[in-house]
């Protein structure tokens, strides 16, 4: 048995294993809240969207499938990011788990990082599964469309290699491309930033409802950052409008930076450099908000 002094000497003020334990426990805690029901709902939406609208042109059918699926994916990821994060601290307080954890030598920043990491793991895992389901349906739909078009060409005796290649290239652009996964990654980044922001809000919020409502407000404002800058800062000259605009611009993340989904749906190539820059920006937000969240949480009376 180790003496208290030797335990103290081996104690590290920052432990990745402690954070990982907290993160995995958070995932379990969220899974018990049946948060993955979203996955089943998403699957139904994708399958329904995949085989609806047969009267449309082939590329429009594929575009609609991608629009509906990625739209659902965005909504689910944002809802999970806000709701799951907003529920974490109050639930731990209610269950008294928070006191058990913090009475052990676990610094509050590790607790916060562990909780956020847990939400991000759940979001990442969920999005990965949804991406797999979505990609399979897009691929299936694309293959069906191409084979139908080739059959139509054959019936008109126009199935020469040139025409088949043109059909494959044209339909392929609206079908399954690597850009779609980049789009899903950008959705993950956006949801992660929203989760970090919600965590920050929940550190000084008085209730779960307050956290959810304020986070939702910031999420909408974050998408309209560009408009806010133009509208408040440039166009109106009133003192209060300018002040509110400036404050919102300073504290809100610019979530429109993560809207790579449109380009992904169009089948445009999303370069790795661009994806890297967007990822870097997301990391800056996440690290920044988590640091501020800690400063609020450190003095919080529990």
């Amino acid at each position: 048995m180790s003496s208290p002094s030797s335990s103290l000497s081996t104690y590290s003020s920052f432990s990745l294993s402690r954070i990982w334990t907290l993160a995995t426990n958070t995932v379990t805690q969220l899974l018990r809240m049946k948060i993955l029901v979203f996955l089943a709902v998403f699957s139904v939406i994708v399958v329904a969207a995949g085989f609806s609208f047969p009267a449309m042109s082939p590329e429009q059918q594929l575009k609609l499938l991608k629009d509906v699926s990625l739209g659902a994916l965005q909504i689910f990821s944002m809802v999970i990011a806000i709701a799951a994060t907003a529920l974490l601290l109050p639930r731990d307080l209610e269950d008294r788990t928070l006191y058990t954890i913090l009475s052990k030598p676990v610094p509050r920043y590790e607790y916060l990082i562990g909780k956020l990491l847990g939400v991000l793991l759940l979001l990442g895992g969920g999005l990965l599964i949804m991406d797999l389901i979505f990609s399979s349906i897009v691929w299936l739909k694309q293959s069906l469309i191409i084979s139908n078009q080739i059959a139509a060409l054959r019936s008109e005796q126009q199935d020469v290699p040139d025409n088949i290649a043109a059909i494959k290239a044209f339909t392929g652009q609206y079908g399954l491309t690597w850009s779609l996964h980049a789009g899903v990654w950008s959705i993950f980044l956006k949801a992660s930033v929203i989760a970090a922001l919600s965590l920050l809000i929940s550190c000084f919020a008085s209730s779960t409802l307050f956290t959810i409502v304020v986070s939702l407000g910031f999420t909408i404002a974050g998408h309209g950052q560009q408009l806010m800058r133009e509208w408040f800062v440039s166009k109106l000259s009133g003192f209060w409008e300018q002040t509110i605009g400036l404050v919102m611009t300073l504290i809100c993340p610019d979530l429109s930076l993560f809207d790579l989904v449109e380009a992904a749906i169009r089948g445009d190539v999303i370069q790795l450099a661009a994806l890297g820059s967007v990822t870097g920006m997301a990391l800056l937000y996440i690290v920044g908000y988590t640091a501020v969240a800690y400063l609020f949480f450190a003095d919080k009376e529990l």
Binding site: Q60, D259, L260, V261
Partner: protein, 266 residues
Amino acid sequence: MKTKFGIGIRPLIGTVLLVLLGLVQMPLEFRLSDSLREKKLIPSPPDLSLRESLGQMGFAAVLGGLRSLIASITYLQAYVAFENIEWGKVDSLMTLTTRLQPQEPLYWDDASWHMAYNAASSYQKDESLRLPLRDKLYRDYVQRGIDILNEGLTYLPDNPRLLTRLGDIYNANSASRRQPDARKAAHYYLEAYKNGAREFYERMAAYQLALLDDRESQQQAYDILRRYYDKGRYFDTMNTLFPELEEKLGIPKEKRVPGPVKFQSR
């Protein structure tokens, strides 16, 4: 530890840090959004006038990053209006759709097709209207289709899909004659071909050029078709065009394409 105002020191530092973070991230956000917008990877902020057309909820959804989904919904509404033959509604909904996603060529193409083909033909065949009015509406809607494509080209310059559609509308040989103008058709087909459209459109340009009276256009048409012939690619239209063009251009008999060539209709 608390300040004399009862606020903890650390939350105060946190607030200052949040503002500092904003000051650091703002120039980075500007630079990144400009760069992504330049590469057409993220859309421009939605026009505030869209709020009136979409309503508060729709506009909030557009702001919430669901612009593509909302565009799909307005497109579907336009499709329903098309099935109900409500051309004014089709036009306004397709205009809304193209405003939401101006970088999507599919929407410009469909918006123009609805106007220049569906609406124009529908009015032309509407026997409840007087003939002069039918003709006027036909011309107006074809022109509307052309205007839509030209507007689309301001957002997507040199887009082959939009250029070929303009060529189709001006095509003087087409069975569904819209606004026949062989010179314009040839111009747009050639532009489309130069910007990545299939070889077929270069030949279409040649067929249009062959219809024109000036020697320069006929020579250009002949050069294009001869190039295909020399590469061993024959098409049935060439059988009638070669003798005509060679006669008009006064090409010596020994340099002419020999007799009817074997067809390659595919």
